[in-house]
């Protein structure tokens, strides 16, 4: 392995191109995902979903299904009267009892000897519905007299058996609101020489993890629950599953097999998971439940569609004066994390650029559509799309170069924003300049405009967008920490047990690198254990681009304690002070001379097998120095913030509306590169995900029904369409970051659509404010045949 060779030459591992440690298994097909695991005696489960979009359930007849040979159990809500609600607002029972609010809604489930039998049994279940009016859009949902999606109280038996209201029925369809303000909007508007206003529409997309959703659930003879789960937040889910099942959380063990893609989709508990657990409890057999791809499209979370109205101003000197934003989010039928994405959107709206006066009001609205979850970027793609469109529009209105205008308003190191975010390290201006320089942005920007009327139907354009995102965790829970246990055996082999979860991003390799850097050992000396809640220490989960930063600092902390113990042992043995020694290339060395004193394994053996008989085992819990925000959304929510600028170059065929993404030139303030190969992979993958959001992906939802639940009609970017990608890393060496690093996972996906919108304008002179930029939408917009998004009157 490359890592091992590099250590032999006594080089640092930091910043090197280190292959992902689990890649050989994956490339040879040996990795066992949840789909590949089968337990002796397991049954296969399938879920019956609603055939209606919005309806009362009159009756459910499962008798024929129960009678089918090979069927072990058929359950409906009536069979689990003790079921508890799930989701962020607890507005949702896993098995619906009296009403369905979406075609994904779970009505019954079957456990059978094969998937085939389970599927056959589903067809035998008879459900009688009484249809209700469909609330298909936020606009309809907000009209007075609209059918209420959650008008009634949700009542379930409480822990004492007595009825308990777990979700209050609402008088309107508003699921959640966020309001934030800084400064004085009226004053900002009065101070403005130019004001622009637009309404933006950000469409539905979904995660499309290559591995579909799935879970295995099993109870042992003592009622302990074992789950093989794709969750991104195993410790939070242990607690939630315990509450759902009325169990002691200590009796729940979650094993996380390697996961076929996460991207935020596995941050919540979805109905299929409790349903599998109910079936395991009832049948006393292991239950395997795996989705089909069609089910994955129809019944997994989405990035929420947003209608966004923004009004922005600046003075003639080019300083932003105010920004006033109102949004309506289609929450879908139930409340998951999607409803809380305004928390991130407001950071971009208030603090990407310095804007003294700012207001942000938002509502998440219940409809009968698929419900919105968290998805890489967490609202930031939508917010950035609007903010960066207005940066270009304002620059144009006052006759300023768009790069200069951004530089005049960009955040700088040391800034504490009105929202309370403290930008201790901030390479934003450097990102702007670097991306512009490497793409020759300014020259190309001017050239494109000069060719608007040259008669050539093929137009070229450049567009720029930047982003701010949390890069040092996000304190949204009581703790944003991560624990690490390190044990070093008598052959100096390190077992690094981390709370962090690996979802393909390469955390195991980065954590091993950081530990090896402290311990002077090669990567081949490390095994990372990260997938079993009975073994690994607590971690809040893999989200918010936090793992390298938080779990990295935790791994370094544990490694430093191990190092101190090894050095103290060596110091006693050689009768010197510990601080004169270091660990390098598998040996204890004299710091001053570099002279090798003893091999680490030999030293550890002498400690272990001596009269003192000790092992080298350490623990460390890292909690970042960040704050939970107060009720007004003020507070330094992350220990560090990541920045990036991306410039895109596109070609628009004005005859067909086809937009080709030719090149993306990015500059990312990542604090410091830990694994160059890994971080390039994160950025390239994020850019292409952003490309899909901008150009090809569109979950078509009509009257509550997903119309394109397959990869033929929901178009992911394929290899021939990818752009040339040129990335520069801006290393600001964050003071709190592990070896100076900040988070990067979400950052690369955030800017692309915003930059493409600006590039389409630069190429054609037409500003399109609605996504996606599919050929049809662009073609219509270029011919003024497109209806631009309009604000909801009832709002």
């Amino acid at each position: 392995m490359a890592g091992a060779e590099e250590t032999k030459t006594n080089d640092s591992l930091i910043g090197k191109r280190i292959p992902k440690m689990d890649a050989p298994e994956k490339a040879s097909g040996k990795t066992r995902y949840v789909h590949d695991i089968n337990l002796p005696g397991q049954l296969h489960a399938k879920i019956l979903r609603s055939s209606q979009v919005h309806a009362k359930i009159v009756s459910i007849d499962t008798s024929a299904a129960r009678a089918l040979p090979g069927v072990h159990a058929v359950i409906t809500g009536a069979d689990v009267p003790w079921q508890r609600p799930i989701g962020v607002a607890k507005d949702h029972l896993p098995l619906k009892t009296d009403r369905v609010r979406s075609p994904r809604d779970e009505i019954a489930a079957v456990a059978a000897e094969s998937e085939e039998i389970a599927a056959a049994a589903l067809k035998l279940i008879k459900v009688v519905y009484e249809p209700l009016p469909i609330v298909a859009t936020s606009e309809e949902s907000l009209k007075s007299g609209a059918t209420l999606v959650h008008g009634d109280d949700l009542i379930v038996p409480g822990p004492d058996g007595k009825p308990q209201v777990v979700h209050k029925g609402s008088k309107d369809n508003v699921a959640m609101t966020f309001d934030y303000g800084q400064g004085d909007i009226a004053k900002g508007e009065a101070d403005s020489d130019t004001v622009v206003e637009d309404v933006f529409w950000l469409h539905y997309v979904t995660h499309c993890c290559m591995g579909v959703s799935g879970v295995l659930a099993e109870f042992d003879a003592q009622e302990n629950l074992l789950l093989y789960s794709n969750t991104q937040v195993p410790f939070l889910h242990k607690r939630e599953f315990a509450e759902l099942m009325g169990m002691d959380p200590g009796r729940i063990r979650i094993i996380q097999p390697p996961i076929g893609g996460g991207f935020g989709s596995k941050l919540d508990i979805y109905p299929f998971e409790p349903i599998a657990i109910y079936l395991a409890k009832i049948t006393r057999r292991p239950i395997k439940l795996v989705f089909t791809r069609e089910e994955e499209f129809a019944a997994s979370p989405t990035r929420q569609p947003v209608l966004l109205k923004m009004r922005s101003g600046c003075n003639k000197d080019g300083k932003l004066t105010f920004r006033d934003v109102e949004t309506v989010h289609d929450n879908g039928a139930y409340t998951s994390w999607g409803a809380t994405t305004p928390f991130v959107m407001m950071q971009t709206i208030s603090s990407l650029y310095r804007v003294p006066n700012c207001r942000y009001r938002t509502r998440a609205i219940y409809t009968n559509n698929p419900y919105a979850g968290s998805f890489r970027g967490y609202g930031n793609l939508q917010a950035t799309f609007a903010v960066e469109a207005h940066m270009d529009k304002l620059a144009e209105a006052i006759g300023k170069d768009p790069l200069e205008f951004r530089l005049d308003n960009a955040q700088e190191p040391g800034e504490v924003t009105p929202q309370g975010m403290h930008f201790k390290s901030c390479g934003f201006k450097n990102c702007l300049k670097t991306a512009a320089e490497h793409s020759d942005y300014q020259e190309k920007f001017r050239t494109s405009i000069s060719k608007w009327n040259n008669g050539n139907p093929i137009k070229r354009g450049v567009g720029m967008a930047s982003m701010l995102h949390v890069g040092g965790g996000a304190k949204i829970y009581q703790s944003d920490g991560c624990g690490t246990i390190i044990k070093i055996d008598d052959f100096a082999h390190v077992t690094l047990i981390t709370g962090a979860s690996e979802i393909g991003q390469g955390s195991e390799t980065v954590l091993a690198q950081l530990a090896c850097e402290e311990l002077g050992l090669p990567l081949s000396a490390v095994t990372v254990v990260n997938s079993d809640t009975d073994i690994k220490p607590w971690d809040v989960g893999v989200h918010a681009s936090r793992t390298t930063f938080i779990a990295g600092n935790s791994a370094i902390g544990a490694a430093r304690k191990a190092k101190a113990k090894i050095l103290a042992t060596a110091a006693a043995k050689f009768n010197v002070e510990p601080d004169t020694l270091n660990l390098r290339a598998g040996c204890v060395i004299e710091k001053a001379s570099g002279k090798k004193l003893i091999e680490i394994d030999k030293l550890i053996r002498s400690l272990h097998f001596s009269d003192k008989a000790e092992l080298v085992m350490t623990t460390h819990y890292y909690e970042p120095p960040s704050q939970k925000q107060d009720k007004a959304f003020r507070g330094d929510v992350s220990a560090a913030y990541a920045w990036a600028t991306q410039v895109v170059e596109i070609e628009v065929d004005t005859d067909t509306g086809i937009v080709k993404l030719l090149k993306v030139t990015g500059a990312h303030d990542v604090g410091r590169v830990i694994n160059r190969l890994g971080i390039e992979g994160q950025i390239e993958g994020g850019v292409v995900m952003g490309q899909g959001y901008a150009l090809t992906e569109n979950l078509i939802v009509e009257n509550g029904v997903v119309r394109n639940p397959n990869f033929r009609d929901y178009k992911l970017v394929t290899a021939p369409e990818i752009p040339e990608i040129d990335i520069s890393f801006i290393e600001t060496m964050d003071g709190e970051g592990p070896q100076g690093a900040k988070g990067v996972g979400e950052a690369p996906a955030i800017c692309v659509a915003a930059a493409v919108a600006n590039a389409i304008y630069n190429a054609t002179g037409v500003r399109i404010t609605a996504l996606p930029f599919t050929p049809e939408n662009v073609y219509r917009a270029l011919r003024s045949n497109a209806q631009p998004p309009t604000w909801i009157a009832a709002a």
């Binding site: 490359a2 191109r17 292959p19 992902k20 689990d22 890649a23 050989p24 298994e25 994956k26 490339a27 040879s28 097909g29 040996k30 990795t31 066992r32 995902y33 789909h35 590949d36 040979p69 090979g70 085939e116 039998i117 056959a120 995660h207 499309c208 993890c209 290559m210 591995g211 579909v212 390697p258 996961i259 076929g260 893609g261 996460g262 991207f263 089909t292 791809r293 979802i503 393909g504 991003q505 390469g506 190969l677 890994g678 390039e680 992979g681 390239e684 993958g685 994020g686 292409v688 995900m689 397959n710 990869f711 033929r712 992911l716 970017v717 394929t718 290899a719 021939p720 990818i722 990608i725």
Partner: protein, 157 residues
């Protein structure tokens, strides 16, 4: 509950006999009957390439092939590429190029690239991109996969 059909074919160089049902896909047979789980289910309708296998020298989506139609054929899966030199070069370059993240799509890409390099040892980047357009990857953005295949081609010469 269904009729079963006896078939025999060569799987990864070994003659096998098995019973399959009429509606069963080759993918289901490989994964559920023969426990070869390196071939993945991604969509079940030939759109993602995660289930790519090689049948009589042709690269195919095993989800679109009836198991019964494997009778008399010669089939190679990712497991059959454990010792093959071309596949070894590919796997090594996928690892070293960073072409693997979640890894779910990777076996399909390796089998597809193995087929491609068998036909054209030094494909151009454009040929590579075309050659893998039937395989979807949600993590990597394809760039490192294209580089890995080009590197493997170079390594083999």
């Amino acid at each position: 509950m269904s009729v079963s059909i006896d078939i025999s074919f060569k799987l990864n160089g070994v003659n096998v006999r098995t019973k399959v049902t009429p509606g069963m896909s080759a993918l289901e047979m490989l994964r559920d009957e023969l426990q070869l789980t390196g071939t993945k289910y991604g969509c079940g309708e030939g759109e993602c390439g995660a289930c790519t296998i090689n049948v009589d020298g042709q690269s195919l989506n095993s989800c679109l092939l009836f198991a019964a139609d494997c009778d008399g054929r010669e089939i190679v899966t990712i497991e059959g590429l454990a010792t093959d030199a071309r596949a070894e070069a590919l796997k090594k370059s996928f690892v070293n190029s960073g072409a693997v993240q979640c890894g779910f799509c990777t076996p399909g890409f390796v089998v597809q690239a193995w087929h491609m390099l068998g036909k054209t040892q030094h494909p151009t980047p454009d040929q590579i991109r075309r050659g893998i357009e039937g395989n979807l990857c949600r993590c990597t953005g394809y760039k490192k996969i294209v580089e890995a295949i080009a590197d493997a081609g170079a390594l083999l010469s």
